[in-house]
């Protein structure tokens, strides 16, 4: 794990403007994409858009992490 990145993440999490924070909703379509990712079925061309969506959605990141950990 990169502890420097953790410091930066914690800082931004504490001080980012409220409007810039996560929307925290995992839609059924997004859930399907996350499961495809975890199963190794995501296309490289889909990855950029999905990544942007994930960076704006903390709950989706958590869900993907759980799936990748085998949950």
């Amino acid at each position: 794990m990169d502890t420097n990145f953790q410091i930066l993440h914690q800082f931004l999490d504490s001080f980012s403007p409220v409007g810039a924070r996560s929307t925290d909703v995992v839609t059924p379509e997004l859930e399907t994409s996350l499961q495809s990712f975890a199963a190794g079925n995501i296309e490289e061309s889909q990855l950029e858009d999905l990544s942007r969506e994930l960076l704006a959605n903390e709950m989706a990141m958590e869900r993907l992490a759980t799936l990748l950990k085998g949950g």
Binding site: T3, I7, H9, F15, L55
Partner: protein
């Protein structure tokens, strides 16, 4: 708590203990803060004046604000707490100097705002922290410059604890490719952040280690969160 001695010293000073006050405002602490300010871009005179201001604020001698020391929560050591306060004042001073002798030239009748309106307000303790705003804006800018995929992978691995091997397997990559992606994104964050800081405040001397330390201290002192890695 890791900084119990500092917290006790501050409590004693606020209660009027002259020995505690003398220890906090003594030559050693003053010299250290002045040296930090000079290292960050202050002139020796500015460093001396700002340090005196900070120690005045510590005990509420200046203005009608509560003593600065009342904000000390003991989550981090006292020295970096006072350093943050001094650095905030230095940023404020340098930004005010930028406006001296160059008043906005636009017509006040036509313009709803001018440059002074764009300076930080005083209403919210977090929003009027010059240092936090400077660090945050540089960091947000840097994150925006990053490749979204690589940044997402960095978050999966560093924040959510997903193994690089699992990410590599899902993407059909080698583990070294995942590793290169997250090392690369960190290097880009570092370079873009320092570049943005230089654009915002060219006088400010901050290296990456300083930046990380200030981010950590800001979270500790303003939010009360510690990563316990001093």
């Amino acid at each position: 708590m890791a900084n119990e001695l500092d917290l006790e010293l501050v409590h004693d000073a606020l209660a009027g203990d002259t020995a505690a006050c003398a220890k906090i405002g003594g030559d050693e602490m003053c010299g250290w803060i002045q040296a930090v300010l000079v290292k960050r871009g202050a002139s020796p005179t500015e460093a001396k004046d700002l340090t005196a201001d900070v120690f005045g604020d510590c005990f509420g001698r200046l203005g009608d604000r509560p003593p600065l020391l009342k904000a000390y929560n003991g989550v981090g050591p006292l020295r970096p707490f006072l350093c943050r306060a001094a650095l905030n004042r230095l940023i404020d001073l340098k930004r005010r100097q930028r406006f001296q002798g160059s008043l906005p030239s636009r017509s006040y009748e036509d313009a709803p705002t001018d440059e002074f309106d764009l300076l930080e307000g005083e209403s919210d303790p977090a929003s009027d922290d010059n240092l936090v705003n400077l660090l945050r804006d540089a960091l947000i800018h840097a994150f925006e410059q990053c490749n979204a995929r690589d940044l997402m992978l960095m978050r999966l691995v560093s924040i959510y604890g997903v193994r690089q091997e699992s990410v590599a397997h899902a993407l059909g990559w080698s583990q070294s490719k995942v590793s290169r992606a997250i090392v690369g994104v960190m290097a880009q964050i570092r370079a873009s952040t320092i570049e943005e800081l230089q654009k915002a405040d060219p006088w400010l001397e901050l290296d990456w280690t300083d930046f990380l330390g200030l981010c950590r201290n800001s979270t500790e002192f303003l939010v009360g969160i510690s990563d316990q890695k001093h």
